[in-house]
Point group: C2
Chain length 172, copies 2
């Protein structure tokens, strides 16, 4: 993964997290990186290719971050909460896959599928720490992840990141 490719992915991730898949263009990405749109197409032929790569990197980084935080002694739920809260605090950006899921029918299927894979990974990751039976563990993972995603949505829309903490204060 070259430096330039990473810069393109960074710009695309930022743009998508702000305005969605249909809210950014190759020319904007090119301008962010300091090149021309044809050069972006050289690295990622189609918009679907670019967005798929962004979502894939996002999921992989998240898995690594979960593993790292947990190795540092944090509980699984606390880890997911912290990762989302940090990304919200950092730059008012909610979850990439939350946005891609919201506009599902407006994005290429391969991209929507990457979002789906992120959520399956997240639900499993959280369900894993439940001591309950399979059905209840699934419900637990779904409930926690849903609350976190919704809390980011509300905090972003209402323009106050402390609302994320209030909405998720009782999660454990």
């Amino acid at each position: 993964m070259t430096e330039r490719v990473n810069a393109i992915l960074d710009a695309a991730e930022n743009r998508i997290r702000r305005a969605g898949y249909n809210g950014f263009s190759f020319r904007e990405i090119a301008s962010d990186v300091g090149i021309k749109s044809a050069s972006v197409h050289y690295h990622f032929p189609t918009k679907a290719d670019l967005a798929t790569a962004v979502a894939k990197r996002y999921r992989e980084r998240f898995e690594e971050a979960v593993a790292k935080n947990e190795a540092a002694g944090a509980g699984r739920v606390e880890t997911w909460k912290t990762l989302f809260r940090d990304s919200l605090a950092e730059d008012n950006r909610m979850c990439l896959c939350g946005i891609l899921a919201a506009e599902k029918e407006g994005v290429p299927e391969v991209v929507a599928d990457e979002a789906r894979q992120f959520f399956e990974m997240g639900v499993s990751s959280i369900a894993e720490v439940s001591k309950d039976n399979a059905e209840n563990s699934l419900a637990y993972g779904l409930n926690i992840l849903a609350t976190l995603e919704g809390a980011m949505l509300l905090a972003q829309s209402m323009g106050d990141n402390t609302l994320f903490d209030l909405a998720t204060a009782n999660l454990k």
Copy 2:
């Protein structure tokens, strides 16, 4: 509110709930309704006008539905849950304002503000039934609404509406 204007709003609401604000065009709305795009512009000069009207009607209908369900004896949280679940079951459509909030920076400010007003209404509506102090009631309303919004997002992305019920089973 004429019949034609309502048909335009219906089409626009459907399109936005599937693909977001930047995922539909005046020509598509016109085609849905059976007229030409210039006629849509006659009723709603700009895209921001159209989306604002859609979001306003959505909020008003929701407030009426909450009042009606409650008059029929349902609890406040159960009412909100039922309304969202029904709209999900009806046509796999998640909350209009959830989508507009997700792509916040990609929509005109007046439109994002309508989404914000919907969430403030929703949080207050749910917080209202809490017997706790102001801060805890706010946290309660935020938590319930966040979970419902996130549950719609996950169910839609993962392609299984029963996941909404699982994710929200413990809400009360």
